[in-house]
């Protein structure tokens, strides 16, 4: 089932052309996880690259006939989570990156996208056509806009919860059927990208982080260009400042004054992108206070830093700044630096205003050599004391396993997402062994607090899924019943999010 027979190759080639059935050795390598310590575990048999939804439907039908497992990727840039590589070794990557249609509704601030559209593609399209809509981009904007939203990625503006801005999907089901969700279920509806719920059950989230279908079009709301963007960059001097900083900001976030998700992170965020570790120390152990202080001096940053931005009409933004000033009052911040952009100014030019970037990926070079990283991202309640506990426990595990602490807490309206990076050198076997053990310890530590990850790497999907254990893993049973109903041959992304088809369950 996981290999590719000659007859399957012929069948696929008759649908999309031999050029797009990619089974050479360099294809299998190109579609593997470049950041993995051991790429073999998730090596695909090859890849298929269809040009549109009709070809996807035909490929899915052929995959059912030949019992070939497909691993759909939008653009395959989900670095830190597996890149383009499948959970199941030998699955065939279904690369949708040739599907690049963009339809913008400028008046209503929406876009209908195919999965191959990257953030830079959409940015270029909006610029070339002078459409005053802004993107919300992730720290690595090389990837797919649709794929990032479906994996619940985040950005920096008030549209930063990307999955929450999805409005209407087109999906190829595992039997080759084609559906449209929400108002798109009515043929020719002008409301597909305008009203999310449609009539009856809503299905958009069914296709987020799942393996129940292949999204071929995704509707997304975009932010109308605001008149002004203003805010502060705050620095905090002590590790213990994390708690009160969160408790100062969360009320403003909850009531909606702050509409983006501020992310308060530590000193390594800057250093890991801008420098390599050996510029600071030759010592292999955890970074000591002397090194931390040197990093902070060079970058003029605190132990923690956070960026707050307001978007909208100038009067409203200026008033919001006054409320923010009042909230911090005389609290002991290390520093605050104002930021201000108003219509007519030269472009602000950063992700804060929706400009896509890739340089944060340079942190893969922190240890030198062939580097990489994986993310550990538990969700916790938005309380300063709980964040402090989480920080201390996690910091202790970084120390225990001899890794460099790299973390942030993103403030959503009702939760904190504690995004941690484990930066490593994949050519350092001893370190790679520590990474695996540490990751498992981190997941267990979060689960003991009843915190779960919002997203994870292909190596750890079963581990994280297992932590969602209410009523003897009732959610897993539901997911498996849906999987069996929609995908009886188990051909779409076996193992995604810990959901396995029958015959492959442990």
């Amino acid at each position: 089932m996981t290999g590719l027979s000659a007859s399957a190759v012929r069948d696929f080639a008759s649908i999309i052309g031999a050029e797009w059935v990619m089974t050479r050795e360099d294809d299998r390598i190109a579609y593997s996880d470049h950041f993995a310590g051991n790429e073999e575990r998730h090596r695909p048999s090859g890849a298929l690259a269809p040009a549109g939804a009709e070809e996807v439907r035909e490929l899915v039908r052929a995959a059912n006939r030949h019992r070939v497992a497909l691993w759909p990727v939008s653009r395959g840039k989900n670095f830190g989570y597996g890149g383009p590589a499948p959970v199941l070794k030998g699955a065939v990557v279904l690369d949708l990156s040739r599907m690049k249609r963009i339809e913008v509704d400028a008046a209503n601030g929406t876009v209908l996208l195919e999965p191959g559209v990257g953030f830079f593609d959409l940015y270029d399209h909006l610029q070339a056509n002078r459409i005053p809509l802004w993107l919300s981009v992730p720290g690595n904007s090389w990837g797919s806009v649709a794929g990032n939203a479906l994996d619940r990625g985040v950005g920096y503006t008030s549209y930063g919860d990307h999955a929450a801005r999805i409005c209407g999907l087109e999906v190829v089901l595992p039997d080759g059927d084609l559906i449209r969700t929400g108002m798109g279920a009515m043929a020719g509806s002008p409301n597909w990208q305008l009203y999310r719920h449609g009539f009856g059950p809503g299905w958009d989230t069914l296709f987020c982080q799942s393996n129940f279908g292949i999204v071929t079009k995704l509707g997304l709301w975009l932010m109308p260009e605001p008149e002004a963007v203003m805010g502060y960059d705050y620095e905090f001097d002590q590790p213990d400042d994390l708690g009160w900083a969160i408790d100062t900001l969360m009320p403003l976030r909850r009531e909606g004054l702050i509409q983006q998700s501020p992310s308060i992170g530590n000193w390594l965020r800057s250093a890991a992108v801008m420098t390599t570790r050996d510029q600071w120390t030759k010592d292999k152990g955890p970074l000591d206070e002397q090194v931390i202080n040197a990093i902070r001096r060079q970058f003029h940053i605190g132990w923690w830093s956070v960026q707050i931005r307001f978007y909208g009409h100038l009067e409203v933004v200026e008033a919001s700044m006054r409320v923010l000033d009042r909230a911090f009052g005389n609290k002991p911040i290390l520093s605050k630096k104002p930021a201000r952009w108003v219509t007519g100014d030269p472009p602000e030019g950063s992700p804060v205003t929706g400009v896509p970037v890739t340089f944060p990926l340079a942190n893969a070079n922190w240890h030198g050599g062939r580097g990489g990283h994986i993310g550990y991202s538990p969700v916790l309640p938005p309380r300063g004391d709980l964040a402090m506990d989480q920080f201390k426990r996690t910091y202790a595990l970084y120390q225990k396993f001899g890794m460099d602490y790299h973390a942030s807490f993103a403030m959503s309206e009702r939760s904190l997402v504690n995004v941690n990076q484990l930066l490593y050198n994949k050519d350092d076997a001893a370190m790679m062994g520590r990474v695996d053990a540490m990751f498992r310890a981190l997941v267990a530590d979060a689960a003991a607090q009843r915190y779960g990850e919002y997203r994870t790497h292909i190596d750890y999907m079963d581990l994280v899924a297992a932590s969602y254990d209410f009523n003897h893993h009732a959610l897993r049973r539901l997911n498996e019943r849906i999987k069996d109903a929609l995908d009886p041959n188990g051909i779409i992304a076996p193992g995604k999010s810990g959901i396995w088809p029958k015959g492959r369950r442990i």
Binding site: S97, G116, G153, I301, G349, F359, V419
Partner: protein, 131 residues
Amino acid sequence: MRGFLRLLLLLGIAAGGNVGVGAAEPKPDGSTVENPFRGVMQDRSFRSSDEAQFVEKCGMCHRQMGMGTVLLARRMDRKLAMLEARGDLTADFIAVAVRRGIGNMPRIGRGELSDGQLAVISSYLVKGPAR
């Protein structure tokens, strides 16, 4: 290029979905620099269809502020950190870097970049800065 690298140093960056402005330096008079990002966004312009292909497929990492540019600036003459400034690239080297990855550069599959598109970009780069 020095100005660009200085701007890089002004950026406090986070991965995993976070970019923070961390380091606007105080001026001698004690005031602070607003918006240290301003004006450092990538030049996405092109003057030929071959260059357009390079911008679409490679520019995000290999023009200003790109991951590739940032990393190559550590390893070689900074004036040559952007691929379009180099005169030493060969088609074979480019093909291996693209399909196998190199250092921290991930591989790019044929679905995203066909052999035909790779050939166009390759010939554009091999011509060097005098192109």
